[in-house]
């Protein structure tokens, strides 16, 4: 009897693991959404369609990419996973990565009044390739990705290793929260 039980548990685990792996692999890139594209469907835990906002190749506009990723129930952790996906870069060729290689998202905190705080690892600053435009697209991409997936977000504050920073690459003031309207 106990042997059968063990077998059932093992089979269940394999099935669950398989489903999870399949869901993780299932990244379906789509072409950029038209202006005012669809907001992410908030389907709670499990697989969720999220919107990642990157830059285009000529640095003239933002492009959106929809992906289905496995997200947890916890809102902060869900936001962290979405930004980690953003940090990995786009999967379609028309888009360009906006977060430097190796950037980790340590924590996301929502203050409940429209403010989001994102704590990045050092690589955000240390590996940033620079340029006003490069810096601007990093900010816009993070701010708009959060705004697309969490419509109540109004401002986003950038932190590195828990501390506030003056700028990401030497140009734009990053010591204040970034407004969703200003960085559209």
């Amino acid at each position: 009897v106990s042997l059968i039980r063990v077998k059932i548990v093992v089979i269940l685990l394999v099935v669950v693991a398989g489903v999870l792996l399949f869901a993780l692999r299932e990244r379906r890139p789509e072409e950029a959404l038209p202006e005012g594209g669809v907001l992410a469907e908030d389907v709670g835990p499990g697989v969720q369609t999220v919107v990642l906002v990157f830059g285009d190749r000529s640095a003239s506009r933002l492009v959106e990419e929809r992906r289905e990723i496995v997200v947890p129930d916890d809102r902060s952790e869900r936001a962290r996973r979405i930004l980690e996906a953003l940090a990995e870069g786009p999967s379609e060729s028309g888009a360009v990565r906006t977060l430097p290689e190796g950037t980790k998202v340590r924590k996301v905190v929502f203050d409940g009044t429209g403010g989001a705080y994102v704590d990045f690892s050092r690589e955000l600053v240390d590996n940033h390739p620079g340029g006003s435009t490069g810096e601007l697209f990093t900010i816009r991409s993070v701010v708009q990705t959060l705004a697309r997936n969490f419509p109540d977000v109004e401002t986003v504050r950038f932190l590195v290793e828990g501390k506030e920073i003056e700028t990401i690459a030497g140009h734009i003031d990053a010591s204040v929260p970034m407004s969703v309207e200003q960085y559209e």
Partner: protein, 510 residues
């Protein structure tokens, strides 16, 4: 000096000595008694006359045997900041880097840390501190670098301010070179020239020396400094040891001082700094309504290389080479030109604006290369300042602490005064950006990304029209090649200089 004084205002109570009166019941009774006394002896006023410009002000007085003068009024007239320490019962006045501390009932005051005769103890009456005439002609006169005379018969105080004093000279090593710091008692005109590579002369016009000052021990690039009184002022000679590449000279306020930095690095002729004489009164560039002085800011520098091209070209080198070209082009057009850095050195963003403000520059131009993680992106743009969105500063977002694990994020303060300086100049900065942009579009065959707005830190503190020029994308292989070409940089410099000259014509109506 006195033009620095804030307008005479009456501010009773805060920050006067009302705080300690809350500290105990005894004080409460004292207050009642003092108020009664104050009411019994009605307040009077003395007229204070500045002999230099005939300006006059009124100072409230009260009688207690002789006349006593209201310290709050005196502080306002002399442009000093008052601070009342409730714990120690002491009042401190600070102005131009000097410090005067007095205690009601104490016949001594502390002036810049040393104890001197107060000329009679100050008194506390009606929640205010009052000082006798002896205080005015004694410690206050020294505090204000003035001669003060009290004429009780016609109730006037005469103030004749003395020429500024070169008070101190100190030499210190810094990251970017050797700094020689001349401490001053007030603002004055100064000029700097380097008659040979072996010396730099600084002349303080109309200044006087109290003690002879000299530094004979060498430090860094300084072999010796001698300071002497000459006919029309004070002359300092800095003997320069070998290896210095150039110098910069800046006048700072609060306290007033002139800082000369002998910089290491490139062996180049020291730039003439004759135009950098004194700080113009009022908003820079507004006094004469002219556009004369341009501060060029070569982006990045030192350990901060900025962006890097695919072939290895560094943004910090491009911006410095372009700055040199732009300096030449602007000088040919008759501008005074200064740079926030003239070598491969690190200058913090806030300091760049500070240097421009201290030099009273009329225009600030930050030079940058743009960059983007795709080789396809390219073009040039000219940007000006835009403040952070209203919902990003102050308001609910600034109200409390947010906890991130063990990290406490401090609330966002309302933007500091320093950071808001550019807000008064945004309209002019936009006009300047458009003029430079038009000139660049006409002269260069680069893709045009237009004029842009942004919360640029380097522009935020500038008290003058300020723009940021992104010349081209160093991350585009083709544009990297152009940025490495001195001929291209000369064309860019020339088009920016033409734009600045066009702006000057517009402002001056020429």
């Amino acid at each position: 000096v006195w033009t620095e004084a804030s307008p005479v205002t009456r501010s009773y109570g805060s920050p006067g000595p009302s705080a300690p009166l809350r500290t105990g019941r005894a004080w409460l009774w004292t207050t009642v008694v003092l108020c009664a006394l104050a009411c019994a002896a009605p307040a009077d006023a003395a007229r204070l006359v500045f002999e230099s410009d005939g300006r006059s002000a009124t100072v409230e007085t009260t009688r207690d045997g002789g006349a006593y003068f209201n310290v709050g009024d005196l502080a306002a007239v002399f442009g000093a900041v008052r601070h009342w320490n409730a714990q120690t019962g002491k009042m401190t006045l600070t102005a131009r880097g000097r410090r005067l501390t007095l205690t009601p009932g104490d016949p001594f005051v502390a002036l810049d840390g040393s104890l001197v005769n107060a000329g009679g103890p100050p008194v506390l009456r009606g929640g205010q501190v009052w000082v006798p005439a002896g205080f005015l002609v004694g410690p206050l006169a020294r505090f204000a670098d003035a001669e003060i005379v009290w004429l009780p018969d016609d109730g006037t105080v005469h103030v004749r301010h003395l020429p500024p004093v070169v008070r101190s000279v100190t030499v210190g090593e810094r990251e970017d070179g050797t700094a020689i710091d001349f401490g001053l008692s007030g603002p004055l005109e100064f000029s700097v020239e380097s008659p040979s590579r072996g010396s730099v002369d600084v002349f303080f016009s109309g200044a006087r020396l109290v003690d002879s000052l000299a530094v004979t021990e060498g430090l860094g690039y300084v072999a010796a400094v001698s300071v002497d009184t000459v006919q029309a002022g004070v002359q300092a000679r800095i003997s320069v040891a070998g290896g210095a590449g150039g110098y910069t000279a800046v006048l700072y306020r609060d306290p007033y001082r002139v800082e000369i930095v002998l910089e290491r690095g490139r062996e180049r002729a020291a730039p003439a700094l004759k135009g950098l004489a004194g700080v113009k009164p009022g908003a820079p560039g507004r006094a004469g309504g002219g556009v004369e002085t341009v501060m060029i800011d070569p982006g990045h520098g030192g350990p901060d290389a900025g962006a890097r091209g695919p072939a290895g070209l560094l943004e910090k080198d491009v911006t410095l080479r372009l700055a040199d070209q732009l300096m030449d082009a602007l000088r040919r057009k008759g501008f005074y030109v200064f740079m926030t850095r003239s070598s491969d050195s690190a200058v913090p963003l806030g300091r760049r604006a500070e240097i421009a403000n201290m030099a009273a520059a009329d225009i600030f131009v930050s030079l940058q290369c743009d960059a983007y993680p795709s080789p396809v992106a390219g073009g040039m743009s000219v940007s000006y300042y835009e403040p952070p969105a209203a919902n990003a500063v102050g308001g609910a977002r600034g109200a409390g602490l947010v906890r991130l694990d063990r990290v406490e994020v401090p609330p966002v303060p309302d933007a500091l005064l320093w950071n808001r300086m550019q807000e008064d100049y945004i309209g002019e900065s936009r006009a300047l950006a458009r003029t430079i942009h038009t000139s660049m579009v006409d002269a260069l065959s680069l893709r045009d990304r237009g004029t842009e707005r942004g919360t640029y830190v380097v522009l935020a503190g500038c008290a003058m029209p300020a723009v940021l020029v992104d010349v081209a994308f160093i991350t585009s292989p083709a544009q990297e090649q152009e940025l490495a070409d001195p001929g291209f940089l000369r064309e860019v410099a020339s088009s920016i200089a033409n734009g600045i000259a066009a702006y000057r014509s517009r402002v001056q109506g020429g």
